[in-house]
Amino acid sequence: MNKGLIDLHEVGMTYQAASGPVEALAGISASIGAGEFVSLVGPSGCGKSTLLRIVAGLRPATRGTITVAGRTVTQPIPDIGMVFQAPILLKWRSILENVLLPAELAGKDPAKLRPRAEQLLEMAGLAGFGPKLPRELSGGMQQRAALCRALLLDPPLLLMDEPFGALDAMTRDDMALELLRIWGEKDLAREARKTVLFVTHSIPEAVFLSDRVIVMSARPGRIAADLRIDLPRPRTVELRATEAFGRLNLELFRALTGKTGGGTTL
């Protein structure tokens, strides 16, 4: 058996829809160590969101076993932060109240966490938007609010489904660096880092952030490649101009597209 924080063994998922079954995942086996930052890339519809939900214990897999911290997952696992693909903000709550929701749900005093919530909003460029309602925010702003919500309780495990998908390049950069800081890049020695499972469509983003990138094949999702990113940490913006960064980008591009030539994607 593997000894990761998250161990997936032949995990398969077939949705039973009215119009017939859809096989979303076909036998995923992987192990993610504590403190690892792992990105998940793969074509649209290959089962990334499904996999994240299964790991979180929100949906039971139809095949295989999942263990997190040694326990088999059969129900939602505790102490995680999750960013869903859609922001899913409660429309009757202000942004600040939305960010404080996890505290309320976990029975913690929201008043105590308010400074932290405000600090997170500021970090996400949403200072001053705390009292606004979700519908008064742009798409990208909503997504950032959802990110703040996931971070509120400082969870040791983060499951993130395209958290920066709706962000422009610059904001994305800023958020990526913030995420690395929060992940605990400064604490590399102390092993106090969080574990992150991060879905993205951006190859450079995956390379820049991760220790490892897992590449999934088209539906039904399988693991097509598992690439170790051996770039030095802490990662800096300058790193992106290096040859090693470019090489890993290309390697990932090839793993993803199956093409052997070079090239970039949009």
Binding site: A56, P76, K91, W92, L105
Partner: protein
């Protein structure tokens, strides 16, 4: 002044409609062959309202108390039952047929039983009103609670919220438009219910006035009582609309 202006701008269609209905009614009674005891003219009703010898204040007070009590009971019990039904399929399967059964019972038919168990007075009439008005709240609450996006529930589950907290923080706010819609319905049902309660047994109240005067064919007073009842009903309905506006502005709908 501007508020009044806005109000009059908003409600002129009502006023026009009511004026039109009143005018045609008065015309029909005056020139048509309609007996006063069957359908009194608006003017007679007006006279009964202001110049008759009915002591309206006392009756109005009694009935208003009953209506408010009925409404509050229906709201509280209805929401509680709706939550119970949405809470557990077992409870739902046990309760729903039973509640449908209770709600299809014509309340007037069980009047003797009701009188014996409850006696007469303000409280039994409130109960009768609640009994007539609670069902929409139950159903709308249960349906509303079940109409939550699965994603929102996942949100709650991700944070390991206990089931009741998901109800309190997610399902119930999400169901508020349904609940408020039901409260609008129940506001009017509570009015009818309290009056029906008074029909069954009473010593005062607007329903008491209606039966008393109707049976001596003093229909204009009975109609005057109906007018008062509608006034109370409209005020209660308006209060619910206002409550909805203050409480759930995000769920703003039509009033």
């Amino acid at each position: 002044m501007t508020k009044l202006g806005a109000f009059s701008r908003q409600y002129w269609p009502t006023v026009v409609l009511f004026a039109f209905l009143l005018a045609s009614w008065q015309t029909a009674v005056t020139f048509g062959n309609i007996r006063e005891y069957l359908l009194p003219a608006p003017l007679s009703v007006w006279n009964a309202l202001w110049h008759g010898d009915t002591a309206w204040a006392g009756h109005l007070w009694t009935t208003t108390l009953e209506i408010i009590g009925a409404f509050l009971m229906a709201a509280v019990v209805g929401v509680a039952l709706g939550v119970a039904i949405a809470w557990s399929p077992v409870l739902a399967n046990a309760l729903v047929p039973f509640l449908v059964f209770v709600n299809t019972l014509p309340k007037v038919a069980i009047a003797p039983l009701f009188l014996i168990w409850m006696g007469y007075g303000i409280f039994p009439n409130m109960l009768m009103g609640a009994l007539i008005g609670f069902f929409p709240v139950v159903i709308n609450t249960a349906v509303g609670l079940s109409q939550v996006e699965p994603d929102m529930l996942d949100l709650g589950r991700v944070f390991n919220a206990p089931k009741w907290k998901i109800f309190v923080k997610i399902r119930i706010p999400n169901a508020l438009p349904y609940i408020l819609s039901a409260l609008k319905i129940t506001a009017t049902a509570a009015v009818v219910g309290a009056i029906v309660g008074e029909f069954v047994a009473s010593q005062r109240g607007l329903g008491y006035v209606i039966v008393t005067t109707q049976s001596s064919m003093n229909t204009s007073v009975a109609f005057a009582a109906l007018v008062w009842i509608s006034v109370v009903g409209l005020l209660l309905y308006g209060a619910v609309v206002l409550l909805a506006h203050l409480w759930a502005p995000w769920a703003e709908g039509v009033d």
